[in-house]
Symmetry: C2
Subunit: 385 residues, 2 copies
């Protein structure tokens, strides 16, 4: 097992009716800005529950944080929040709203000249305005970690940052808030969470059997509950299990002491930045191709994954690896998530463009062995056409 540091101070309030509890979690007298997206929370009752819970607080609203939250939009929120002397922010929505809010609270307290440096130059975040979250879409795990991914429309860049200061103080996970989600978002969420686990699991063995089994526990549960969630998205227990899987997939527990990959995410972000393809769908395209390309260095873990998650235990090593990748693809496709670039009308020109962008950005050494270079990225993408 590798050495590690684990720290996750997020308080989770899980279950039906828990939105009411936020009144005790936000300091009395705080000036609160509620951040949210396109207004679905006003249709499904979540907004009303939040407003009811905060009736003793001073509340301001910032609406319109889009999927793959835009730097340009978030900077408007920062401007308003500073002028209004906001001292607590409450994100109400999915991963985009929560990611966007992490950037807002970091930028509000940023003392450098240009908050864009937090993303582009990895300028350290040394403080932030406190914030909490009410999650409405299980997927990204942002509700229980300190990471955030932001898109700058102007330059078509999608970049990540994180800091010990951007953990939510609390997150409410009420499965009932998911009952009105479009099926497309449920599919995306399942694939997103599943891929998060694989990024931390399909690397190489370091004699960490507990971490392996914890990762497999999430995969097996998503395999079981995911299709049920699509069949019956108003079943409380199914959505609760899916929701908790998505949170556990990226709260740090399965990552400790093991190598992690994240090359799939790094490459896939480009497809969203350039073509606006849903994040989960870009993962479903890149991942199988990357696993095939890197199957030699990932061999032992792919075989273990195949056997323990998909019951692949017969055939030669190569056959089992291919059967495992096929099982993963079949799972994604069964959730109505296409896995080829051509399914999204993306062609070779985009591959060339991504290669060019990576060259300009000096990208190198991706993956758990830091051995994926730009040439490899090109081959991985070409194989996913």
């Amino acid at each position: 097992m590798n050495n590690f540091t684990f720290y996750n101070p997020v308080k989770i309030l899980f279950g039906k009716g828990q939105i009411a509890a936020i009144k005790d979690e936000i300091p009395a007298g705080a000036r609160v800005m509620i951040t949210y997206g396109g207004g679905s929370i006003k249709k499904n009752g979540v907004y009303d529950q939040v407003i009811e819970a905060l009736k003793a607080h001073t509340v301001l609203e910032f609406e319109g944080i889009e999927p793959n939250p835009h730097y340009e939009t978030l900077m408007q929120a920062v401007d308003i929040a500073k002028r209004q002397k906001i001292d607590f922010v409450l994100a109400v929505g999915g991963g985009s709203v929560i990611d966007g809010t992490k950037f807002i609270v970091a930028a509000m307290a940023y003392e450098g000249e240009d908050p864009w440096d937090i993303l582009a130059k990895k300028a350290p975040v040394t403080c932030a305005v406190p914030f909490g979250a009410v999650l409405t879409l299980p997927a990204t795990g942002s509700e229980m970690n300190s990471g955030s991914v932001i898109t700058r429309v102007e330059t078509q860049e999608k970049l990540a940052f994180g800091s010990p200061f951007t953990f939510p103080k609390f997150s409410v996970l009420d499965p009932e808030t998911t009952f009105t989600l479009p099926l497309r978002q449920i599919s995306n969420g399942i694939v997103d969470a599943f891929t998060h686990v694989l990024e931390q699991y399909l690397t190489y063995p370091v004699n960490a059997p507990l971490q392996d089994r914890l990762a497999e526990s999430i995969l097996l549960t998503l395999k079981e509950e995911g299709p049920k969630a699509l069949q019956n998205p108003k079943d409380y227990d199914t959505m609760a299990n899916f929701m908790w899987c998505a949170t556990m997939a990226l709260n740090g527990v399965i990552r400790v002491g093991v190598p992690t990959d994240w090359a799939t995410h790094y490459i896939a972000h480009e497809l969203t930045a350039l073509h606006g393809i849903d994040h989960a769908r870009t993962l479903a395209v890149v991942l199988p191709s990357l696993l095939r390309y890197k199957h030699e260095t990932k061999r032992e873990k792919i075989l273990q994954y195949g056997e323990r998650v998909w019951g692949v235990d017969a055939g030669t090593v190569d056959e089992r690896i291919e059967a495992t990748i096929q099982a993963t693809i079949a799972f994604f496709e069964s959730l109505d998530i296409n896995t080829r670039l051509s399914d999204y009308e993306v062609g070779e020109d985009t591959v060339k463009l991504i290669v060019q962008r990576f060259q300009e950005r000096g990208v190198k050494n991706l993956g758990e062995r830091a051995d994926i270079q730009i040439d490899d990225v090109e081959q991985i993408l070409m194989a996913s056409l």
Copy 2:
């Protein structure tokens, strides 16, 4: 799944060499009291590493916290720490030293008349002096939770308390610190951690498949790594895996949203309080007997445990339940942990005494269904003679 709140802000520093990191985790200028047990840390180099790391801090020592830490001893530490204006405590040792330190830091800040009320009257702990831990014995999980069990010698009572203020600020888990442990303590640690998982797992199903699998992950890993630890207690990876299992067994992750039992612990504490039998051994005596006695209400989970952890998948329901309990007993015995009261020269008179003590204390409604009464305790203990 049941509603739940999860909160665990303990920072874990895991791996060889991590003791040196405590210098940056304890505030500069803090007046530190180091608490420890019988001095084994002076023989295995841990003490020297701690002193070296804290050479820029003002350090006072309190030695002599015994197994099943004594209220009487801890109150001496409280007295000294208050007089010396200690503002950070560092526990160096196993669960007893850490449990004892939690009581010390709570009692130091307690504003009521008698700190014993924290244990005897469940007087709320509303603040505490900050503390950290350097763990040397994987077993109790105390390094990553806020709970504590204290024994009062005068009255032969063993009582528990916990508070959001008694989480360690950090815990160092360096597997190398375990290399000189006596085999007896390794056996105890494995059984203690294993039983902690079972207390949170062998109840009744609430449709929480992820929590079930996470619990089984720890059980399977302890089953695998436990015997290896006894065979080769200086194997770094083995001890690292055992250490992380013991921490994960009681840091709250597997408990969320599911019922928990803890009747085994409640009953077993009496055997330690009255006869000084090692905590883990008292668990190994009470647990099998309790499982047999409550096998009807625990049926579904015992069957699942048997199948997934011990491969018990043939026979009638009753046969499978018995085979599962037998497998558990065989595991404990394989670790040189006896599972009958008579193995410890404890007889019926002690059973009567425990019943009498429970009557005096008005004990009732133990277990996940709150259906274990004093009569049931008597039958469980009689069956374990």
